[in-house]
């Protein structure tokens, strides 16, 4: 087990409004979420001395403008002018989960006391994923000429392989979409709060990139979420009940850029990250009370459930049936609605929900007696990170 098990905790969490279009600059959303998280902790902004984020815009073919389409650490520093700031970082290889892990490491190293991590996501006007212009450079020279644009098609090809190799049926995915949308109705911050979804809606929805229909894809939105991390001792003196980090991991496998469609790369990415997390935390999949698994595209949940060890390869679409992922099921899943419910904010919201469930702060969607709370914070292939939060640090 990890020497640093449960030495760091998530304290406050914060949210901006989630909107469909970019009515106000993204920096304002990020500032709102950060303020909200700091207030939730019962801290003052001047107490914050660490900052971390992953400022990528996953849309292709759009300009990155700091404060408009991304919110970098520099942008946040300029807005907050923190008098006590001692540490900051932006990560590249592991999405927002990596930023959280770096904040954990900085707190363990004692180079800051209260770190804030945010994820701000922009929804550019026009088509989200644009193929390159007249020419395809770099890795895209082998994909774009054939009509491969954004990550959706790259994930769709692996999904057809999974479906046909295992003799599975995409209609079973309706259970995931419908159950998560039901969970969403307990999350007032979510884009689809107040909008139900039926099995019939799912089965009748238009195809985007087979096997993905519209409701297999998270909707692009504009918004931000944030968390405060601190040491366990300090967290116990703050307002909310802490969610202790029992262990974490990151994917240790990477594909050559432009090689798409490989199913094994999802599995190897996910299992390498989960293995570290199980070993460090001392838990195994059967100990988990509640799970959040990244669902930017629905098939990510399949790869997550299988590669993290919750079920065997080829079985995930059967595993999610028969009430197992309901709030009172054997493995309540994406209890905040997932990205399919909140809109595309990436995995920090999964981390937030994992922490809220562990500390008993999830309100009407709280899973009864939840203690061991698992999070897979992004698609296991490229940027996968995994976490276990607990409410009871022993």
């Amino acid at each position: 087990m990890w020497d640093n098990r449960c030495k760091i905790a998530v304290s406050g969490v914060g949210f901006s409004k989630v909107t469909r279009s970019a009515d106000i600059p993204l920096a304002a959303h990020a500032l709102t979420a950060v303020r909200d998280a700091v207030a939730d902790s019962g801290l003052q902004m001047a107490d914050i001395d660490g900052l971390a984020t992953y400022p990528e815009l996953p849309a292709t073919g759009h300009a990155e403008v700091d404060g408009i389409s991304v919110v970098s650490v520099n942008c946040m520093m300029a807005m907050l002018k923190l008098p006590a700031l001692t540490w900051h970082i932006q990560v590249g290889t592991t999405n927002i989960g990596g930023a959280v892990q770096q904040a954990v490491n900085a707190l363990l190293a004692g180079v800051c006391k209260y770190a804030v991590v945010w994820r701000a996501m922009h929804n550019p006007s026009g088509t989200y994923q644009n193929l390159p212009g007249a020419y395809a450079h770099g890795a895209a020279q082998f994909t774009a000429p054939y009509g491969f644009g954004g990550p959706g098609q790259g994930m769709a090809v692996a999904y057809t392989r999974w479906l046909e190799r295992h003799g599975q049926n995409r209609e079973k995915m309706a259970t995931l979409a419908v159950t998560q949308r039901r969970h969403t109705q307990h999350n007032p911050h979510a884009w689809f709060y107040g909008t139900p979804l039926t099995r019939e809606d799912y089965l009748a929805s238009r195809m985007v990139a087979y096997p993905f229909c519209l409701f297999d894809c998270d909707i692009p939105v504009q918004g931000a979420v944030a968390i405060v991390l601190t040491t366990a001792d300090r967290a116990r003196d703050l307002k909310p009940k802490p969610a202790y980090i029992a262990g974490y991991g990151q994917r240790l496998h990477f594909e050559v850029a432009g090689r798409i469609g490989s199913l094994s790369s999802y599995m190897e990415g996910g299992s390498s990250s989960a293995k570290l997390t199980w070993e460090r935390s001392g838990f195994s999949p059967k100990d988990v009370d509640v799970a959040q698994i990244y669902d930017g595209f629905s098939a990510s949940v399949i790869y997550g459930l299988e590669s993290y060890g919750f079920c065997k390869e080829g079985e995930a679409l059967d595993f999610i049936q028969d009430g197992r992922i309901e709030l009172d099921g054997e493995l309540p899943l994406n209890t905040f609605g997932g990205s399919l419910g909140t809109g595309r904010i990436h995995g920090l919201w999964h981390i937030i929900e994992g922490a809220l469930q562990a500390s008993g702060r999830a309100g009407s969607r709280q899973v009864k007696d939840a203690n061991v709370s698992f999070v897979g914070a992004s698609a296991p292939i490229v940027t996968g990170t995994t976490f276990i939060f607990v409410g009871d640090p022993y």
Binding site: T127, Y128, Q129, N130, L131, P132, G133, A134, Y135, A136, H137, G138, A139, A140, Q141, F142, T143, A144, P145, Y146, G147, F148, G149, Q153, A156, V157, A158, Y159, T160, R161, E164, R165, R206, M207, V208, A209, Y210, P211, F212, V256, A257, G258, R259, I260, G261, S262, L263
Partner: protein, 141 residues
């Protein structure tokens, strides 16, 4: 069957790693990067052998037959240049001689419903301009 006649594809821009691939394709030959140490093929081209870390890599011809490893049927018309071909099959091909090297392509000369994992395919070539010819695939005869 998808109508590709009105589609304007993005033109690949060869670089120092990939130029031999495109030079071969222009002459209707499929050549993949091969490690001269462990003899494994790989695609897309890379700086080193991803199997054994050797740096001695050369492009060598392959016969161009293989199977559909995976596919997707594209319905979304976000990119207007491809809208006239929708729905179309974008496939990932694993060549018989190069297991693990995955090539993207479209399934040509067949209805998109013919795209299935494991189906046999063979290479064909689609000229984009005087410099660039795309390797493509059709069902094996």
């Amino acid at each position: 069957m998808s109508d590709w006649s009105k589609v304007t594809r993005p033109i690949p821009v060869p670089n120092e790693w990939t130029r031999p691939f495109w030079d071969a394709a222009k002459n209707h030959r499929l050549e993949l990067q091969r490690c001269q140490n462990c003899r494994s093929f790989q695609h897309p081209p890379y700086a080193t052998c991803v199997q054994c870390m050797a740096i001695d890599l050369k492009f060598e011809p392959v016969s161009g037959t293989g199977t559909i490893y995976a596919y997707t049927i594209m319905y979304h018309t976000g990119d207007k240049r491809f809208a006239s071909a929708v729905p179309y099959a974008s496939i990932i091909v694993e060549l018989d001689e190069a297991p693990g090297a995955l090539l993207a392509a479209n399934l040509l000369d067949a209805p998109y419903t013919e795209a299935k994992v494991g189906r046999r395919v063979e290479v064909t070539f689609e000229k984009l301009n005087d410099d660039i010819t795309l390797p493509q695939f059709r069902l094996a005869g």
